[in-house]
């Protein structure tokens, strides 16, 4: 087969998480968003009055803000949202043991390999199904050291003082239209507290699954990494493929205290009918490091720009973003770094692959405030195009108000080089292997930062997607 046709036939889009459980739930709200829905969600969670007030205020803010006209195409979202279930309660209570999780839900997570991974490589696991966390567990040794890893609802119930001190401070309700929406209807997500000095050797993982058709998932995560602590948190997301659209809008707030080191990894593999509009931000204090590892493979449209606000002297922010956009997908991703203190450093590396009619856009903000002396930042964006109909964009915003700043941005766009392919094929590889090897090499800088099992999984995914691509 001529090479161009071979490229056309590359099937990167096969979606292996497309299985559906029968729809079972103990409660769900009527479709659409209203004050009644917000009150029902709050009622189901038996919340304190201040949280209901916060939700209702957030609803007002959401309604007052216009739909964004930048980024991806949101022109049909308003209609879609009228049909969306904003809250679906799958079971009555969250479990601490997989044995107690209803069999069909448990089976879902088994297919996704979660309980197995928990045994082998994780310090703790949270699993969200529709709107609620159905399972949460932390290994005893970390529990003993005072680590808190719980559902966000239990965080509010059991640790109200820490919760109220930080909730909504990193990402205020009015930050953007979707942070306001999330603040009104949030449900599920994790509450994490790492005590000062505690270093978690293995990652915590939260897994998000949407099963219901026309479902909206609005998890809210609040993480406090205490002074000098060290931890890694991984989130994964999947959903079955429906002909109707689903919606996911999370808010992730992280406080990284002095000299702490926190890494947040997302492997987002939503089905291609999902709008994924997420706000993620970390406040990074003196000498601390925040790392975002953001992998966006799924969804119809993702708009997500993990941010680091470097507010303490010597703070460091690191954003690694990898996006894959196949047919009909638009990945509008990137990162934001605000340097608001002296001697802060940051790095953003973005890698994207566009195939078929896919479009990947890098959108990033780099801001250096006056007085943030000797701030240093470097941004690198590489885009790979595997099809003549694919599209890639780069939209960096660089705003520098400090003379001593040292800022660089670079981006390149290329297609898989004929020379690279030819070289590998002259060494006896077939085209399919050669193509997969080049793509793997392209994402290598990101894959190598994942725990081994996840790196293997990511590579396997790429291989699977390259399979049968050359006839």
């Amino acid at each position: 087969m001529p090479r161009n046709e071979a490229v056309q036939d590359l099937n990167l889009d096969e979606y292996k998480y497309d299985f559906v459980d029968s729809e079972k739930h103990v409660f769900r709200t009527k479709p659409g968003l209203s004050e009644e829905v917000v009150r029902q969600i709050s009622g189901h969670k038996d919340e304190p009055e201040w949280m209901l007030d916060l939700r209702l205020k957030a609803l007002e803010i959401y309604e007052s803000k216009p739909m964004p006209t930048w980024g991806g195409d949101l022109s049909k979202l308003e209609e879609t949202l009228k049909e969306i279930y904003f809250y679906v309660r799958p079971q009555d209570q969250m479990e601490r043991s997989w044995d107690d999780v209803p069999a069909d839900i448990k089976e879902t997570f088994e297919k996704l390999g979660i309980p197995e991974a928990e045994q082998k490589v994780l310090a703790g696991v949270g699993a969200q199904y529709e709107s609620e966390m159905v399972y949460h567990s932390l290994k005893k040794e970390w529990d003993d050291k005072g680590v808190i890893f719980d559902s966000i609802e239990d965080g509010l119930k059991n640790h109200p003082e820490i919760f109220r001190k930080y909730f909504g401070t990193v990402i205020p309700t009015a930050d953007n239209k979707f942070s306001a929406m999330n603040s009104a209807v949030w449900s599920g997500g994790s509450f994490v507290y790492i005590p000062p000095g505690v270093e978690l050797e293995t990652p915590l993982q939260a897994y998000f699954r949407v099963n219901q058709e026309r479902m909206g998932q609005f998890e809210r995560t609040l993480i406090i990494a205490g002074e000098g602590s060290r931890a890694h948190y991984i989130e994964g997301c999947t959903a079955p493929v429906y002909s109707t659209e689903s919606f996911h809008s999370g808010v992730i707030e992280i406080v990284v205290e002095k000299n702490a080191h926190f890494r947040y990894t997302t492997i987002q593999n939503w089905s291609n009918n999902m709008y994924n509009l997420v706000t993620q931000r970390a406040l990074v204090n003196e000498g601390a490091t925040m790392e975002w590892l953001d992998g966006n493979l799924g969804s119809k449209l993702t708009m997500k720009y993990p941010s680091c606000y470097l507010i303490g002297e010597g703070a460091h922010g690191n954003i690694l973003s990898i996006a894959y956009a196949g047919d009909g997908q638009h990945q509008d991703t990137g990162g934001k770094v605000v340097h608001a203190a002296p001697n802060t450093t940051s790095s953003i590396v973005s890698k994207s692959i566009s195939k078929g009619t896919g479009r990947s856009s890098y959108r990033g903000l780099l801001q250096v405030h006056e007085g943030a002396r000797n701030a240093r930042s470097n941004v690198e964006c590489d885009a790979l195009l595997i099809d003549e109909n694919a599209r890639t964009d780069t939209y960096p915003y660089i705003e520098i108000n400090e003379k001593s700043a040292h800022i660089g941005h670079e981006a390149t766009v290329s297609k898989i080089g004929d020379e690279q392919l030819f070289y590998l094929m002259s060494r006896g590889m077939d085209e399919e292997e050669a193509m997969a090897l080049i793509v793997r090499g392209f994402i290598e800088p990101i894959a190598k930062l994942l725990p081994l099992e996840y790196a293997v999984e990511l590579n396997r995914l790429i291989e699977l997607e390259m399979e049968g691509s050359v006839g």
Partner: protein, 449 residues
């Protein structure tokens, strides 16, 4: 063109159709129609705000007061250098090597000369206001004025210019003719408090070659003054066009330049825009690679001090395959100056084998200076080589240290490093007179540093 005032009590906020028509009463019918159409577009186009991506960092509410401005009238100045302002004469004295000169004062042409040998070959360098009445001279050129390159629909300022431009420059080079020495355009502004609107149309026929050096300048102005210039450049198949613009307006000037080049098959367009003067200066620069094999180089240089605000908005449109474009904009900012660079490379779906590059580098020389840079890419073809880069930083300490270790005083060493930084741009376009003029102006600015 008549001298009628076009506006009512609110300056240029609204244009009266009848008055635009009256002002254009001596224009040929087709041009009057075009002006009226532009006036309609102006009326229905809202003033750009910072909500628009392209105006995100330039808030016109603080910088341009349309209510206080009325369109300029032709200056009554003789075609005699003795009658010209000293600053204009000085600028002209530096321009010895030229194949033609054309001088505008307050938007109207007061002097034209052209090498007779070139005139004999059919080269035209003429006042636009005169050229539009001359059917022989104008031939098939009228279809290009305020249409394909900079139509009124491009935006509020393009529409205003098309409706009200007083005069301008028309350059036409016939097929195969090479104009070896530059055509020097000098646009002097003397009357404060008004809007001076002029435009340039360059038609380079097949396989022709031409260089235009356009300088706009003034002394410091007593009050808020608006200078609007539109440049339309058509490089037909195989033509080579070099276009240099040096902006040295005085303080209180708000300068807007919209420059668009259409580059046809195997044609080359090189441009250099130098921003040194004015209080606010905005450049909308677009180069369209509409023919296969076309090539373009887009250079820019700026030095801001005081409260100067520069906004350079550039785009490289690759419409045809096999084209090359490379942009380099470098600037230094002192005191409270601010520079915005927003550049975009657009590779359209059919533009395979595109080679396109874009670089913006900024040097901050003071604590209060600021730079915003937005180098964008939109790529809709896969067989392309594209890259962009942007940097913001302070003077290179190593270079400074090296020079100082050789006994050069710090202040002098700083100046040398800045000149070296900016010199990279000038070195890519060797044009007698321009480099010296620009370097001298930057050195003058650096003396205050």
């Amino acid at each position: 063109m008549s001298e009628g005032i076009v506006t009512g009590e609110r300056g240029l906020v609204e244009l009266d159709r009848a008055e635009v028509a009256a002002r254009a009463e001596r224009d040929p019918e087709w041009l009057r129609e075009r002006r009226l159409h532009a006036a309609d577009v102006y009326q229905r186009t809202p003033m750009p705000t910072t909500r628009l991506e392209e105006w995100r960092y330039t808030d016109l509410r603080d910088k341009l007061d349309l209510e206080a401005l009325e369109p300029g009238r032709p200056a009554e100045v003789a075609d005699d250098p003795a009658a010209w302002p000293a600053g204009l004469r000085a600028a002209m004295d530096d321009d010895r090597e030229a194949s033609a000169h054309i001088v505008l004062i307050d938007g109207a042409v007061v002097h034209t000369d052209l090498d007779p040998a070139l005139a004999a070959k059919g080269v035209v360098v003429e006042s636009l206001a005169r050229a539009v009445h001359d059917d022989d001279m104008w031939e098939d050129s009228r279809e290009y004025l305020a249409t394909q390159a900079v139509s009124p629909e491009r935006g509020k300022f393009a529409a205003l210019n098309a409706a009200l431009f007083l005069d301008g420059v028309f350059v036409r080079v016939p097929r195969g003719v090479h104009v070896d020495l530059p055509i020097r355009v000098t646009r002097w502004v003397s009357t404060p408090g008004v809007a001076h609107l002029d435009r340039v149309l360059v038609l380079a026929s097949e396989a022709s070659q031409v260089t235009v050096v356009d300088e706009v300048l003034s002394d410091d102005l007593a009050s808020h003054t608006f200078v609007s210039n539109v440049a339309e450049v058509i490089a037909r198949d195989g033509a080579q066009v070099h276009f240099v613009q040096v902006q040295r307006l005085g303080r209180n000037a708000f300068n807007h330049t919209e420059h668009r080049t259409l580059v046809h098959r195997d044609a080359t367009s090189d441009s250099l825009h130098v921003s040194l003067g004015a209080t606010t200066s905005r450049l909308d620069l677009n180069t369209q690679m509409i023919g296969p094999g076309s090539r373009a180089e887009l250079l820019g240089l700026y030095f801001g001090d005081g409260d100067q605000h520069f906004d350079h908005n550039t785009s490289q449109d690759h419409v045809a395959p096999n084209a090359f474009s490379d942009l380099l904009f470098k600037g230094a900012l002192d005191e409270r100056a601010r520079a915005v660079f927003r550049g975009i490379i657009r590779v359209h779906p059919k533009a395979q084998q595109t080679d396109a590059y874009q670089t913006n580098r900024n040097l901050l020389l003071s604590e209060d200076a600021a730079a915003n840079t937005l180098p964008n890419l939109e790529i809709e073809a896969d067989d392309v080589k594209c890259s962009h880069g942007a940097t913001v930083g302070q003077l290179d300490e190593d270079s400074l240290f090296y020079l100082m270790s050789r006994g050069i005083p710090e202040a002098r060493a700083e100046r040398l490093v800045v000149l070296g930084f900016l010199g990279e741009v000038l070195s890519r376009l060797s044009l007698g007179g321009v480099i010296e003029k620009v370097t001298r102006e930057i050195e003058r600015k650096l003396e205050n540093h």
